[in-house]
Symmetry: D2
Subunit: 414 residues, 4 copies
Amino acid sequence: MASSDKQKETVVLAYSGGLDTSCILVWLKEQGYDVVAFLANVGQECDFDEVEKKAYALGARKIHICDCREEFVSDYIWPWVQSNAKYENRYMLGTSLARPCIAKNMVAVAKQENASFISHGATGKGNDQIRFELACYALLPGVKILAPWRLPEFYNRFKGRPDLVKYADEKNISLGVAKTKLWSIDDNLMHNSYEGGMLENPSTEPEAVMWQRTTDPTKASDTPDLIAVTFDGGVPVKVVNTTEKVKITGALDIFLYLNQLGGKHGIGRVDIVESRFIGMKSRGCYETPGGSILFAAHEDIETFTMDKELIKIKQCLSVQFANQVYYGMWFSPECEFTRFCINKSQENVIGTVNLKLFKGNVYVTGRESPISLYNEELVSLDVQGDYEPMDAGGFIKINALRLQEHSRVKRMKM
Amino acid sequence: MASSDKQKETVVLAYSGGLDTSCILVWLKEQGYDVVAFLANVGQECDFDEVEKKAYALGARKIHICDCREEFVSDYIWPWVQSNAKYENRYMLGTSLARPCIAKNMVAVAKQENASFISHGATGKGNDQIRFELACYALLPGVKILAPWRLPEFYNRFKGRPDLVKYADEKNISLGVAKTKLWSIDDNLMHNSYEGGMLENPSTEPEAVMWQRTTDPTKASDTPDLIAVTFDGGVPVKVVNTTEKVKITGALDIFLYLNQLGGKHGIGRVDIVESRFIGMKSRGCYETPGGSILFAAHEDIETFTMDKELIKIKQCLSVQFANQVYYGMWFSPECEFTRFCINKSQENVIGTVNLKLFKGNVYVTGRESPISLYNEELVSLDVQGDYEPMDAGGFIKINALRLQEHSRVKRMKM
Amino acid sequence: MASSDKQKETVVLAYSGGLDTSCILVWLKEQGYDVVAFLANVGQECDFDEVEKKAYALGARKIHICDCREEFVSDYIWPWVQSNAKYENRYMLGTSLARPCIAKNMVAVAKQENASFISHGATGKGNDQIRFELACYALLPGVKILAPWRLPEFYNRFKGRPDLVKYADEKNISLGVAKTKLWSIDDNLMHNSYEGGMLENPSTEPEAVMWQRTTDPTKASDTPDLIAVTFDGGVPVKVVNTTEKVKITGALDIFLYLNQLGGKHGIGRVDIVESRFIGMKSRGCYETPGGSILFAAHEDIETFTMDKELIKIKQCLSVQFANQVYYGMWFSPECEFTRFCINKSQENVIGTVNLKLFKGNVYVTGRESPISLYNEELVSLDVQGDYEPMDAGGFIKINALRLQEHSRVKRMKM
Amino acid sequence: MASSDKQKETVVLAYSGGLDTSCILVWLKEQGYDVVAFLANVGQECDFDEVEKKAYALGARKIHICDCREEFVSDYIWPWVQSNAKYENRYMLGTSLARPCIAKNMVAVAKQENASFISHGATGKGNDQIRFELACYALLPGVKILAPWRLPEFYNRFKGRPDLVKYADEKNISLGVAKTKLWSIDDNLMHNSYEGGMLENPSTEPEAVMWQRTTDPTKASDTPDLIAVTFDGGVPVKVVNTTEKVKITGALDIFLYLNQLGGKHGIGRVDIVESRFIGMKSRGCYETPGGSILFAAHEDIETFTMDKELIKIKQCLSVQFANQVYYGMWFSPECEFTRFCINKSQENVIGTVNLKLFKGNVYVTGRESPISLYNEELVSLDVQGDYEPMDAGGFIKINALRLQEHSRVKRMKM
């Protein structure tokens, strides 16, 4: 594409330091590109210094390492907490939420570097290529994407891991601790996800050793932790551990703390088969410790403080949001709108939820709010309050009216 | 209403043998009614012989005791399993499902007894009066309902438990083991539900002694049970306990067995605040052991075998169904329609889910189906199969088209 | 209720000057109330001076006549224009929108008059009692409603029009032009609605004379009017009649002008059967001239300027909004939320629609917008533009993936 | 692709006889394919004999001409009538419905001819390529599609109409009446659609001469036709013209007759901008005379006979169906499901609607049904019937309960 005598084209490569993107970095240079590496810190396990050195060693002109953790929690995870969204009822969207955050920072680098190409190492069958590229196209219309795993000249040359290893060998790409992976891992602040390899047989239970983020529930602490999570506007603002007398505030600190507690108690493991955007079913295992705690807490305080008819509308928005995020549509008009509406719905979602964490479980044990719709006198079995029981009779009879009409028609048809 | 010189009107009373309905039975006779008692066995803890004797002792002309357990599982719980419905995302509808089953059998008795009145002891603030009466109106249009807790002549006379106890005393109504209840309990095959009393303060954790159906998870067995649940048409048809080499078939037996296992492992406890149909918020605690196991298993096999776009439509129907059932609309045109559609959606929901039950958790560990949409070759990271990675590039670019247009408009507005 | 020796209770009565509310005014006084009459000008045909005189003549302590027309258009009709809402796909909600506007002004009067009672002449079978009272309860919690047509002491005494006429006669209530009405009419700025009487047979075509607001389309002008309606934020801001060289701005003036034009061209007649909130089916005929023009224009400019996925979400909100408004839930949490979201969705709904008005029809003939998503180059059959046709092939093949999987499963089942 | 020494590959080409597909036919042969032409009669204007001759003249091995009109009406248009579906609220889906019908018949020919290739002349920017190909992939998984307008070797060679004309000249392809088209037309039994050319400027009114299917409303008959359309199961079974004393039965005859009547009265013209599946906005003009009449009639009888809560669920299904059909998903799992559910919803949609057709308008003037939910006594303003007005008071107060709670919270926040 870029010839040697022309000004070289700059490509910003999402670089992790791993085998795939290291080979891609070298390969891109081979194709005549000027490569700028980009690495977002979204909380994954990573020796960032090591990756930086490696990038330069492989010929990157520059590497940008951005600490996106605060932004990831505040701008992506918090809206998710407000939303109660799970894709297909179960997947907490840990990877899906990180992609637009990474892409946004990467686009900023591309603009800064005046690059018109962006490249990544995502495979051609997955969701991440979509999430990543849709975000780039939305934020930098006209950008050109180089996705080597979709380019025949690349994927026909590198048909599997052995080909990459051989290439790495030729090109002096260090492999680090080159372990044979039995599955593929993606991790960030929100979760670890596992797929591929032995997981591809959906009936096989994953080996215990796979789970790296949470303690095995059967081996987790016998002593529960009791915590209180306080929300304002549907977003967590304080966590108090009443067992350990600890108080945490600040978005990132809250999330890190809940991750640690959730990990300790083996919270947030799921093993699911999900429907990828491109239509195939895929099996994934996920560990979302802090997210699982916040999900339970938020769901409780929301139901406590939100009118029942608003809940119904919000349930719809929540399903929409899950699909939008999973499909990589974060920067779409509909997702911007949905986030805006969901945020509005959270105005009164204020209060504190008490939780007990124990061997994989998050139990809600109580909740309170300064502006709850819960009205102890109104609901009491022992106090009549303002409530007129006879009204319920009229309410029921009016509701029954159309049911009786339906019966009438049914009898006419017999 | 009924005068002594006229032929007495017959009323069928939903009779439990407890204090409230015993007083109501006597009070209805006092008002001049001929009382026929009705008691449905939907799996609740009850000494049916004792209740029968008591009904006659209090002056019932007759008592009908119907074993509705098979019907309850097959016609109400199984459609719920197919639906994945939870009201406000959390309540598994144990009471809501039992009411139409009870009402249907009671209406049959009313027809047999030629009774034009039906009576029950449900309170005037709750959902059960609605569920019960809407079912009766739908199945027996024109029926007259006597709900003493909504009649001023009754509720002004009996302002609380002490008044009822005093009346019982006067009328020789035996109180049985007259324990002071700290909360109100409803139980059936599907769940125990607790509300009222100390639960009315939503921030107070219920006492450990309240939970009667499930072992305290902190005290539950340290050894998981491994089971395999097989579905056909979205309905469980076989459970195999691979730990204990037990195989169960038959709707009722499957459900009873899963209840027992779930109880042993402390599965299915929730403590929630929910929105009653009449609009107030109410706190309830529920234990749904077998239901929770089936919910997890069905959700997994459904996602494994159902197309992703059908899943989305079914998610909507599931939310609708939850609301319909919670609101007592089982015999409504929309609920009949929704059940019919949900049942259709389950055609291909066939297969077996492996589960691990442990201290309050239901872990899915694998699944298989003779007709799954899961295609191991198609999804494999290692095999290309029929799949053309380049197609994904086109797919993404077409999806990006409107996002780029959206960006264009945004820039125009700046 | 109010005894003569006590301070008389003040009741604010929604007073129209007609037979029903005149009799109610007198009857309320008879019951011992101090009556304050209230009349909202929402654009209905009415001799306000005459009504004022009559109210005093009948013994009202005071009458408040509020001109609510500007508010009705800006705060109720405009949000409806943004929403594209029709109840059950056809009813443009003319009455439903006026009720909360009237109730809000009436509650203000009740507060000013320190009245704890509100009364109205709506029947016990209709929607209006509900809309009216729900608005009052929401805005003035604890208010006591006197709805004589639901009070046995009233409706058993006045069993039909003759009883009212007789009472009017006794009480010197002038009947005005006492015509025998063959149907009931409600009118306001937005529409005329007709129901009852001869309309109660749903197969009978209404007499031509019934329609009072619009010219019979068969007799309407043979010359179309061409107009251009300009929207900003989804709300009309200018109308230009290119045929007659007229330009109108200002919310009320625009609406009045379109009403006049629509009336001239026989636009906006419908004859429908609808489902009342209380569950019965009812037949209504409506004339909504200006509303019908705006509906067509807004729908066009919205589709022109709104992203297709946002359109889908908004379609759902529109249906919700129609139900909320029809059911009298304007001041509910869910309707406030829905209006807020719909308003947000209109940010980019900016532009001008050209219309041709002719014998009952509103034809859209063209549209333009400074920020339309329409991209003439992109869509052109003659120009390729940035668009890569090959991308569509990938798009289709990826979309086909799950359809082929579905076929695979189908064949497995054979 | 196919080399001359190998057995030639057979391709089935959707052939219309027009310039594009004639050139494609010859071009495919040039590429070495054995070409079988296919032409579906879905009611379009066409000299089928002429097309047949031309196909053979250009070298087609065979041409299959299938009369799909009965099937088109019964299996595609009737389900649409049941659905009340309009894409983006306005487009009646005339083209979208025909595509799967054509594709199904074409796939049958491909199977019969043992062809593994299918080809068509749809452009690379439109919806029809998608609809057509998705249907083919679903019905014949693994089929290979040749879409010349997406193949660079084709579209780079033929950059516009002049190149095609030149090629036709070279290859002796007769051009017939070679008129310069100012827009593109697609027509079938259900509608004429116009796009492209002068329509690409969305603010320009189309020339009057464009509309070919319906009389200009300003020139249409001054005498209305009165007709009665009878439905059973939501599908039209009889049309009676009470003006002309004509009675029509049979699916195709009914539809042809209504097309003729609608055309006479200028019914069913719309000019809209819509959102294509691939994301761009496009302007289309449509004439759907018979479909517009049936839409109005069906909507009326449905509301007359369907419970209000079922209506709401069906409204959702209708929107889903519109999207599915527009997006070419007819043979998808979700569309099969949706059709099944919609069909079920129509069980009681039985009865007759009276319509007046006049200058572009379809007025409903009355309706009747043997099993309507309309209950004249129940709804009457003059008769109380079984209805207890006091029940409405209870109904309203219970509905107000949460509104008052909402007010309480609002005041707490001040």
